[in-house]
């Protein structure tokens, strides 16, 4: 606290850096953490699309000339050889419902498989006011794989789906938008088009922007029109699948079974090859950011994020070390004096680290308050669609670890160097 300017700069640097780190940690935990309804995220594989390709063909025409009496007969043979690896054309889109039912739901390795049609915008008119909602069609397993927080009611069971019951699960936010504020929305009816749907469950809106779990309303997939379920080409359709892996089972077991499906499936519509793209939660998040077809770019994404975070922490730490060197150098006379009166290097090391930790801790508290303000601001401004950042105990714990790391790193090096200073020179060269 000796030099107010240095103290201010230190506090500002610490609190600002920690604030950014805490906001990023909150964001990562929010989007990629094991939070409801994605508590099982480590065992979940998403199958958002499949790709089918037809290889280029090399055509060989053979004409045989055969003399039959006085005339000549031509025998033409055309042989087409596929040029493997050279796609003539390809298509990459959602999975057909039939494909999912026949090939994915019947897989042996997963614990559960869910088929769903991801969210699309629908329009409803409560009190003659237009309201756009994001709707997804899901099956019964969907509610077993994703542990939504049910405020009222429940998800769909097998019979609801099989009987094409006009049932609906909605988020509390969507229910309030449609019906207005109420203590209960259960069994109330919502009109979409000419049909009425009964609310059988109300869930808390997930905080993540993940497209699978973030829709406003969910309806049974059996209501999804057949023409959208399966396209007239290949195995394509308007569906996605989600696989819940068995606890403790390697993801590779599921991936290998998917590979077997790819290899054994009968090709149709002149396609030569089929690839089922499987992604985990992080891959799903990373893919649009990289704008690539690589469906397993999650690891790369995490590496980049953690490298940036590491650099972000490293640069101010080095700056703080320098700043602390200056601050402590200003106190070299005090160091000399304390040593003259019997302080050992470890006493001084402890003193300066302690002082730095206090400063860092103060910076941490300021950073924490700033983080709460920023998170609140980001949520209010709805900058990230469907995402609602929250500061929870996990983030708080991570922040404390970061703060300790920051305090130790930026304090220990200058303190150690200064504690080794020669007494006579420090006392001689300066005044307190």
């Amino acid at each position: 606290m000796r030099n107010k300017f240095y103290t201010f700069v230190s506090l500002f640097g610490i609190s600002f850096t920690l604030m950014v780190l805490m906001v990023v940690t909150a964001f990562l935990d929010n989007e990629l953490g094991s939070n409801r309804p994605l508590s099982n995220k480590d065992d979940i594989l998403f199958l958002p699309n499949l790709e089918m390709k037809r290889w280029e063909r090399k055509t060989t025409t053979t004409i045989d000339t055969i003399a039959v009496g006085d005339s000549i007969k031509y025998d033409t043979t055309i042989v087409e050889t596929p040029l493997v690896g050279q796609p003539y054309w390809s298509s990459n889109t959602g999975l057909g419902y039939t494909f999912c039912v026949e090939h994915i739901s019947t897989m042996a390795s997963p614990a559960l498989v869910s088929i769903f049609a991801p969210g699309g915008q629908i329009e409803v008119y409560p009190d003659n006011e237009r309201l756009e909602l994001n709707a997804s069609m899901v099956d019964a397993n969907f509610w077993l794989i994703f542990d939504f927080e049910f405020i009222e009611g429940h998800g769909f069971d097998e019979s609801t789906v099989d009987n094409q019951a006009r049932s609906m699960v909605m988020t509390e936010v969507a229910a309030e938008q449609y019906f207005g504020h109420s203590d209960s929305y259960l069994n109330r009816e919502i009109t979409w088009g000419y049909e009425k749907y009964t609310v059988v469950g109300v869930v808390a809106k997930p905080n993540t922007s993940n497209f699978v779990v973030s829709p406003d309303i969910f309806m049974p997939i059996s209501l999804f029109p057949d023409k959208f379920k399966d396209h007239d080409l290949g195995y394509f359709g308007g569906c996605n699948a989600v696989i819940l892996n068995k606890k403790g089972q390697s993801e590779n077991v599921v991936i290998n079974e998917l590979k077997q499906i790819e290899n054994n499936i009968e090709m149709k519509d002149d396609f030569d090859i089929l690839t089922i793209h499987a992604s985990n939660l992080v891959d799903l998040y990373a893919q649009p950011l990289f704008k690539s077809n690589n469906n397993r770019s999650g690891q790369k994404f995490l590496w980049i994020i953690f490298t940036i975070l590491g650099l972000f922490l490293l640069i101010p730490t080095i700056n703080l070390i320098n700043l602390n060197m200056t601050r402590i150098y200003e106190r070299s006379s005090e160091i000399g004096l304390r040593k003259a009166f019997g302080a050992q290097s470890k006493d001084l090391l402890f003193q300066f680290i302690f002082e730095n930790m206090i400063l860092t801790f103060l910076g941490g508290i300021i950073g924490f308050i700033m983080t709460l303000l920023i998170i609140n601001g980001l949520n209010e401004a709805k900058i990230i669609e469907n995402s609602h950042l929250q500061f929870n105990s996990k983030i708080f714990f991570t922040s404390i670890i970061i703060t300790l790391f920051f305090g130790l790193c930026s304090g220990i090096i200058p303190a150690w160097r200064m504690s080794k200073k020669q007494i006579a020179s420090t006392i001689k060269t300066s005044r307190i």
């Binding site: 606290m1 000796r2 006379s333 005090e334 004096l337 304390r338 040593k339 003259a340 009166f341 019997g342 302080a343 050992q344 290097s345 470890k346 006493d347 020669q422 007494i423 006579a424 006392i427 001689k428 005044r431 307190i432």
Partner: protein
Amino acid sequence: MIQLKNIQKTYQSDLVETLALNNINLTVNEGEFISIMGPSGCGKSTLLNLMGLLDKPSEGEVIIGGQNLQMEKENKIAKFRNQHLGFIFQSFHLIGDLPVIDNVELPLLYRKTSSKERRWRAEEALEQVGLSHRKNHYPNQLSGGQRQRVAIARAIIGQPSIIMADEPTGNLDSVLGLEVMKILMDLNESKKVTVVMVTHDENMANMTHRIIRLYDGSLVN
């Protein structure tokens, strides 16, 4: 009490080696009050630093109370300084952020002493230098003479057997300087504390038992 044997001290810079002290042999007896005099740059403070174990000689031995601590680890030397030596500097070297009483307590921070004991011993030390009424003031609220008395209180709180005083009256006028000298003489007489004082002032030096004169790093008879 203090024995210097064939002391030599050189400072090495990039290209030049400077001889600060050359072949110093000196004995200071227990309970003695000596002053070291000489022109600026003759090596007085260097000699005092060596006697106070704040620096190490390039050659020779410094023996205090029969112990040669030169080869000992820094921690042991620090402990010895804390137990047996007190220091007074020309420019006081008080910590500006701490009140007077905390400044005085400083040497006891590095001993196993309770905060309560530290406090009453600091008050007692301030009483001895006549500044107990200023214990909660900060150094910048005191005059030069008062600051030096605080520095003396800090030097004596640990009840050292030797006090090293580097021009303790150098920044004070003659009246205040005399006050400080009286305190040091009183400590020497009543508590039998050995005092080694560097000074430029012939009058102050004449008040001590013995004057050691240095010239160009060597003792002058």
